[in-house]
């Protein structure tokens, strides 16, 4: 059995393609089941976030399965394969293991070190478990991936301060307000930029979203998405009096918020601090607004500059994290290779043989007077017992080679008899909490 992954992410595909190929949560179960019906695929799991769409699978026919999955994506979403094939990547075996470990540890994220992805992978896995499309390989793989993510998080500082522009905005906001809980944000403009930034803030605890836009209807529809409130464009000041954070991203050619206007508003606010994020180009907010006391104004360049500085700091931590991933990949691959029938039977036989020899020697040393003939028949007897015992399981294993159960049998054998190569201590998942919610 080999592990494969087929997918695309923010680096390989533009947003409209990612959106086209995304699996909405309510259709996930259906999609998983459909993949499960593909004959070349034994186990599968689908990860679908706004930055990536990936199908993980265990298969015995890697090349065919990769092709089948590509066609599945095309058919399921009704998009011709040639339109997105160059955005797709596929990995198999060790590379695929490494890929999911990197994804789970947030090393493959747009915002390296952000913590959200781990939760997304966990729920993708739970979906697969509920839909009964995952099996032994994915089970082990995912638990290992969670373990790796945990190691990366605790052993490196990669997650300490995130790098992307919106994460930097959150970081600045947290240095101003302490926490984003119970804070209110005002979006000026109802475009995608505003929406993305707002989503990030909401995921970090912002409680209420107000939206204002020149076209009121769009403000209303975006506000609905956040269960927020729309305000008419010419009543913007009313919003400015209330909110803590303002994100502005309109295509207005002139400033929308001026220094003198804001100087008045801040008095009405009794000097309550306010944080402006101007991601518009040209700017929506007069730069002098940032000179007012208790007003903090960052534009997109400011945020980018901070993000870049963070990346420099982080090079070393990322290296450390990659080393942890590499280390874990090796451990996992060792286990996974041990799931082959012949080496397992050989290992089992060796183990029995070893025991037989030891016990035989003990018995022989207790009876020094035995004749050579008697010794030989003892030898033959013990060998025969072992052969008889091992015969049925060996035959069964060889037969079940093509069935998904083989891996389960092999793994059980390796665990029960403590056979070498499986390195049971490194996979002692009973020690890990994640095992509890696995449901297997």
């Amino acid at each position: 059995m080999e592990l494969i992954v087929v997918g695309l992410n923010h680096n390989t595909a533009p947003i409209h393609i990612r959106e086209c190929l995304a699996f909405p949560e309510n259709k996930m179960e259906d999609a998983l089941r459909k993949v499960h019906t593909i004959p070349s695929v034994k186990e599968n799991m689908i990860v679908s976030t706004c930055n990536r769409v990936e199908v993980y699978a265990a298969t015995r026919q890697t090349d065919k399965a990769i092709l089948d999955l590509k066609h599945f994506l095309s058919q399921y979403h009704g998009l011709p394969l040639k339109e997105f094939e160059k955005s797709l990547y596929s990995f198999m075996g060790e590379e695929a293991v490494k890929h999911i470990f990197r994804v789970a540890s947030s090393l493959d994220s747009m915002v390296k070190g952000e913590a959200q992805i781990l939760g997304q992978i966990k729920s993708a896995y739970e979906m697969a478990v509920e839909s009964k499309t995952s099996g032994l390989i994915l089970h082990r793989l995912l638990h290992r991936a969670f373990h790796v993510a945990k190691r990366v998080r605790t052993e490196t500082k990669i997650g300490d301060s995130a790098v992307s522009v919106s994460s930097v905005a959150v970081e600045v906001a947290e240095k101003i307000f302490g926490t984003l809980e119970k804070k209110t944000v005002l979006l000026i403009g109802a475009g995608e930029m505003c929406e993305l930034a707002a989503r990030h803030l909401v995921s970090r605890g912002v409680e209420k979203v107000l939206v204002t836009n020149r076209t009121y209807d769009r403000a209303v529809s975006l506000a609905q998405e956040f269960k927020g409130e729309a305000i008419p464009f010419d009543e913007m000041n009313q919003g400015l009096r209330k909110v803590d954070i303002v994100i502005s991203a309109t295509d207005s050619p002139q400033y929308l918020i001026w220094h003198d206007q804001m100087a008045k508003v801040i008095k009405d606010r009794k000097q309550k601090p306010i944080f402006f994020i101007d991601i518009a180009n040209p700017r929506d907010i007069e730069p002098r607004v940032g000179e007012i006391e208790n007003v903090y104004l960052y534009n997109i360049e400011n945020l980018k500059k901070v993000a870049d500085e963070n990346i420099k700091d982080r090079g070393k931590e990322a290296q450390k994290a990659e080393a942890i991933v590499q280390d874990e990949v090796i451990k996992f691959v060792n286990w996974y290779h041990s799931l082959e029938v012949t080496p397992t039977i050989v290992a089992l036989r060796n183990k029995f043989e070893e025991i037989r020899k030891k016990e035989l020697e003990k018995t022989l040393s207790l009876h020094p007077n035995l004749s050579d003939k008697e010794k030989k028949s003892l030898e033959a007897l013990t060998s025969a017992i072992i052969n008889k015992i091992l015969h049925t399981p060996s035959a069964l294993l060889k037969q079940s080679n093509e069935e998904a159960m083989a891996d389960l049998y092999l793994d059980t054998l390796r665990t029960l008899f403590q056979l070498p190569e499986a390195s049971p201590e490194s996979f002692d998942e009973t020690k890990e909490k994640e095992n509890g919610d696995a449901g297997i």
């Binding site: 600045v172 302490g178 903090y296």
Partner: protein, 274 residues
């Protein structure tokens, strides 16, 4: 002279604690801040013993000359730090406060430390209340001073868009401003009580409540400064930068009232010829 040993041990531990905090600021290892806090806490315990033994040896509240006052003030400051540290998660605060206490301790160390017979004017029921209220209030203002300094640094970093090593080490503006307000809320009534008990004591000792002695004048100035800050905070919503600056100015007035007046001016409060 047990109290001197404990006093010296406390000074040494504050020195050691300041050093641990310094290392913590550089490396930001959680364990270091815990270590520093533990050292300072042990220093505080030793300091407490120093005050108790001195009280036992002298037979009166040991706040009668400059050595004792400085030591008592440092003790209060560390005490306030330990209380605040248990409530607010502002680990860096100790890195600012401990050195201040250390400087006071070193200053006290250089001064004559003998226990002198109690001057007649200090022999009053009100005297201990006066010093406890006044010093506790001032210790809390020392905390407001530190959070004010941190606020100005942090605000400057954020305004100039430098999200670097300094920003990372200092607490959020909101937390610092909260500390400023909380200090004011507790410090101001204590300062007020300190002044009132002082006036009552003055009435017993000299037969009048208020004499416009330089110390009295300066404590009134200090009181007015903090009263103004409290008033502006509550009415106009002064906060942040302005409140931080006021807390710094206020504490400078506190220090001048406490030390400057004795050094520069003379009056009823200069009891000993140190």
């Amino acid at each position: 002279m047990m109290n001197i040993y404990f006093f010296k041990l406390a000074s040494f531990l504050y020195l050691f604690g300041s050093f641990a905090y310094l290392v913590y600021i550089i490396f930001l290892k959680e364990n270091l801040s815990k270590l520093a806090l533990t050292i300072v806490s042990i220093g505080f315990a030793s300091h407490t013993l120093a005050l108790i033994t001195r009280y036992a040896e002298a037979g009166h509240t040991p706040v009668t000359n400059l050595h004792e006052s400085l030591s008592f003030f440092a003790w209060m400051i560390i005490g306030v730090l330990l209380i605040v540290n248990s409530k607010y998660k502002v680990k860096i605060l100790g890195a600012f406060i401990t050195p201040i206490a250390l400087i006071l301790m070193l200053f006290a160390l250089a001064l004559p430390k003998e226990i002198l017979p109690l001057a007649p004017v200090l022999r009053s029921f009100w005297h201990p209340f006066h010093v406890v209220f006044a010093f506790l209030g001032n210790a809390i203002f020392a905390l407001a001073f530190c959070s004010g300094v941190m606020y100005l640094i942090q605000e400057n970093q954020l305004k100039s868009k430098k999200m670097g090593a300094i920003t990372k080490r200092l607490p959020p503006l909101k937390v610092l401003d909260d500390l400023n307000y909380q200090s004011l809320k507790f410090g101001f009534p204590l300062l007020t009580l300190g002044i009132i008990t002082g006036a009552v004591w003055a009435n017993y000792a000299w037969g009048r409540y208020w004499d416009w002695d330089p110390k009295e004048t300066w404590s009134l100035i200090t009181w007015l400064l903090y009263a103004a800050l409290l008033h502006q905070r509550l009415t106009v919503g002064w906060r942040g930068r302005k409140a931080a600056i006021m807390a710094i100015v206020g504490f400078l007035a506190v220090l001048f009232t406490f030390l400057g007046v004795n050094l520069v001016l003379s009056g009823l409060h200069a009891y000993s010829n140190w």
